[in-house]
């Protein structure tokens, strides 16, 4: 009986641990501060959005969004840990509190907000699904793709979008769904598929790593809306506001003409909006539960949205993506920030 008792005691202890850790629901901000860094879920293999460079330093638009949160919370953009997640593990990792915020080119959809118990904050990249085809195929429009073999990554809205588009246009397709990016790209470059479908930003990245990028062309049709946004869990409104305004602060900074270069001079600005934004006039920080310098730290250490965009995916990078929908509202884009007051 003794051994059984021991086993029972051990198992009971395990249960207690389990239930305690499951029931505990501390404020995310407190947990992050105690831990000393922000845990950010990122892609890990997507050039321009989340990928370590050859020196092992994380680069990308999503990565910089995670850094902005760290800069706001700790005043130090490097107090952040990046967790590489697949399309399949990303939401589960967030739900199970393995990460604090998910910045991994995730599309905001109704069912993800509701069924998954998640909150998407302000969009940090407006994307859309497109098609990459070899030039020698002679295809000029996605409408000519009926009967084509289509290489697709699983685990996103991609498969459904392409299914919807082909059905709506009375076309048939043969999907080839391969889990790993590299294996999928190789299959496409070897001619296993007639076209590859994914978000246009990813297509630019895949084209950039092709054996000969000039042999491939992105078709003009964009068949879906993909508003990519950082994600947090339901149920912690304070944390949600913090992450939301970190994205908005980068957008607002660009709108007000504040860059990482001129932010010091801007501290002396007479504009009350800029004074409030940079914490010269206090209030915003306290409202969010952060240091009054939070927005200053974001701009100083990470940059405004325009800087982050140009540095990671802009026209001077390998991706060469134009601002398009991601331009400021006054330039015909969708980036628009509410007032910081």
């Amino acid at each position: 009986m003794k051994r059984a008792e021991k086993v029972a005691v051990v198992l009971f202890a395990v249960f207690c641990l389990f239930s305690v850790s499951a029931v505990q629901a501390g404020e995310t901000l407190d947990a992050v501060k105690t831990r000393g860094y922000v845990s950010v879920g990122v892609n890990g293999g997507l050039f321009g959005f989340g990928m370590p460079d050859e020196k092992g330093v994380w680069r990308g638009l999503d990565v910089d969004t995670g850094r902005a949160v760290a800069a706001a919370v700790f005043g130090d953009a490097e107090k952040v840990k990046f967790v590489t997640l697949t399309t399949q593990t990303r939401f589960t990792a967030l739900q199970s509190k393995e990460i604090d915020v998910l910045c991994r080119n995730a599309t905001r959809t109704l069912t993800r907000e509701t069924d998954l118990g998640l909150n998407f904050v302000t969009v940090n990249y407006y994307d859309g699904q497109g098609f990459l085809v070899p030039k020698k195929l002679g295809v000029k429009s996605a409408k000519e793709l009926s009967g084509a073999s289509v290489c697709t990554l699983p685990g996103t809205t991609t498969e459904q979008n392409v299914g919807d588009y082909f059905r709506a246009n009375n076309m048939t397709l043969k999907p080839v769904v391969i889990e790993q990016n590299t294996e999928l790209n190789q299959a496409f470059f070897a001619g296993r598929c007639d076209c590859l479908t994914s978000d246009a930003s990813q297509l630019a990245g895949i084209r950039a790593v092709a054996p000969n990028p000039d042999d491939y062309v992105i078709l003009p049709e964009i068949i879906s809306k993909e508003p990519l946004a950082p994600v947090v869990r339901h149920g912690d409104e304070q944390w949600r506001d913090i992450v939301d305004f970190c994205v908005l602060a980068m957008i607002a900074a660009e709108d007000m003409g504040i860059t990482s270069k001129n932010v010091e001079e801007m501290l002396a600005s007479k504009d009350p909006n800029i004074q409030r934004f940079l914490g010269v006039t206090p209030g915003n920080g306290k409202a969010l539960g952060l240091d009054e310098k939070w927005a200053y730290n974001i701009v100083k250490q990470v940059g405004n949205y325009g800087e982050v965009f140009e540095r990671n995916v802009g026209e001077k990078t390998k991706l060469g993506i134009k601002r398009g929908l991601n331009a400021q509202w006054r330039d015909g884009g969708l980036m628009y920030s509410p007032p910081f007051k």
Binding site: Q88, L184, G191, R192
Partner: protein, 398 residues
């Protein structure tokens, strides 16, 4: 368990012994306690999970199965389109898994048997080749082999527009292997019926031959005749229907070939990888089984004048099979389970389909449960069948 209990309960004087000193009752108490523990653990995990999911307002349940799936599947044994439900998509995935598992198991047993026998061959070169085959394929991870074969298929084969055309009507290209099939004709159903009839006839023929041999000692080539029946019956029906020989030949339409029988590179690579890998293990099992039959048995059989083919079929194989079947079963299960690696090379098996389902619905727990159930049922069914076969083959002790 029941046997252990009854074995411990044979002491006739057990009435005077307090129950905690009675090994049988004590054992029962332990088992009851353990069962309660396991059930409690399951219940606690279940409630915690459900509580957490509810708190995070994550949807649960299997309602999503009746919703429209909205994604296409590359290959399917039944009619399927994006407008069908998740449940039907799941069935498509299960059938695809079954397809590769069943074909794979048959090919593995045949190939493994041949290599295993070759390994024991007196021919030096043949034996060494078989040994090399086993050592190389057994010791490379299956996932790498799958990547290798898939890469070979897509890099070596040309595009559909420059397709290989080894025989008229047969096309090999990087979209798959395309073969002509006979155009559908009412004769085909009748031929299938004739095949079944021939099979039943063969069964009776062999039974009759056996009884006659038991009674009179005269032999009859029952197996040869059965095979002939299987060939001749359908052929006769085919002739009777005026020998319909119209073929459906694959044709390049737009981007891909359509019509005829097609084998996709994903299926081909997965099947090849699984069969080559598992057959190396099966070969060793077969070799061990044959070597387990003592040489004296063979000598004794030959000394009473049996031909070598009869020595194999009457003496060696029945005894070797007893040793072969149990480990062979576990290799069959391995092959089925390894087929889940299909996701890596894009074959739409049940794991691939459920992965997509999970991503679209976000209901990971339900999805993973479904995958586990499917493999559990497949494995248990295979085991049950092989246990039945093993019992049938086991030495009847007198």
């Amino acid at each position: 368990m029941a046997e252990d209990l009854s074995a411990g309960n044979d002491a006739s004087a057990s009435e005077a012994v307090p129950f905690w000193h009675d090994p049988a009752k004590r054992g029962m108490a332990f088992q009851a306690a353990f069962l309660i523990l396991v059930l409690t653990m399951g219940y606690v995990l279940f409630t915690i999970t459900r509580g957490n999911l509810e708190r995070q307002s994550i949807a649960t349940g299997f309602d999503f199965l009746t919703r429209e799936a909205g994604f296409e599947i590359g290959e399917s044994l039944i009619a399927y389109s994006a407008a069908n439900t998740y449940a039907r998509a799941l069935v498509v995935g299960i059938l695809n898994t079954l397809k590769v598992a069943v074909i794979g198991i048959v090919m593995t047993v045949v190939l493994g048997g041949l290599v295993g026998v070759a390994r024991l061959s007196a021919n030096w070169l043949l034996a060494r080749l078989a040994a090399a085959y086993i050592e190389v394929l057994q010791n490379i991870p299956i996932l790498l082999q799958l990547f290798f074969w898939y890469a070979i298929f897509r890099e070596v084969l040309p595009s559909p527009r420059q397709t290989m055309n080894p025989i008229a009507g047969v096309y090999f290209n990087n979209r798959g292997f395309f073969f002509p099939v006979p155009k559908h004709d009412p004769a085909h159903e009748m031929m299938a019926a004739a095949f079944v009839a021939a099979w039943v006839a063969g069964l009776f023929l062999r039974r009759w031959a056996r009884r006659r041999q038991d009674l009179t000692g005269r032999t009859f080539p029952g197996w040869t005749c059965s095979v002939l029946l299987l060939l001749l019956f359908p052929f006769g029906v085919w002739l009777a229907f005026g020998a319909p020989s119209a073929m459906e030949i694959p044709q390049l339409k737009g981007f891909n070939f359509e019509g005829g029988l097609s084998i996709s590179p994903e299926f081909g690579a997965l099947l090849l990888g699984l069969v080559l890998y598992t057959s190396a293990f099966v070969a060793e099992i077969v070799r061990a089984g044959i070597q387990a039959v003592s040489h004296g048995q063979t000598e004794a059989a030959m000394s009473i004048g049996l031909r070598p083919s009869l020595v194999l079929s009457l003496i060696v194989l029945p005894q070797a099979l007893r040793v072969i079947i149990p480990p062979l079963t576990s290799q069959m299960l391995n092959l089925t389970k390894n087929s889940s690696l299909a996701v890596a090379i894009g074959y739409p098996d049940v794991v691939s389909v459920v992965n997509t389902t999970i991503n679209q619905t976000g209901q990971a727990i339900e999805g993973v449960l479904m995958i586990m159930t499917v493999y559990l049922v497949l494995s248990l069914a295979t085991s049950a069948f092989m246990n039945w076969y093993n019992k049938k083959m086991a030495l009847v002790e007198r």
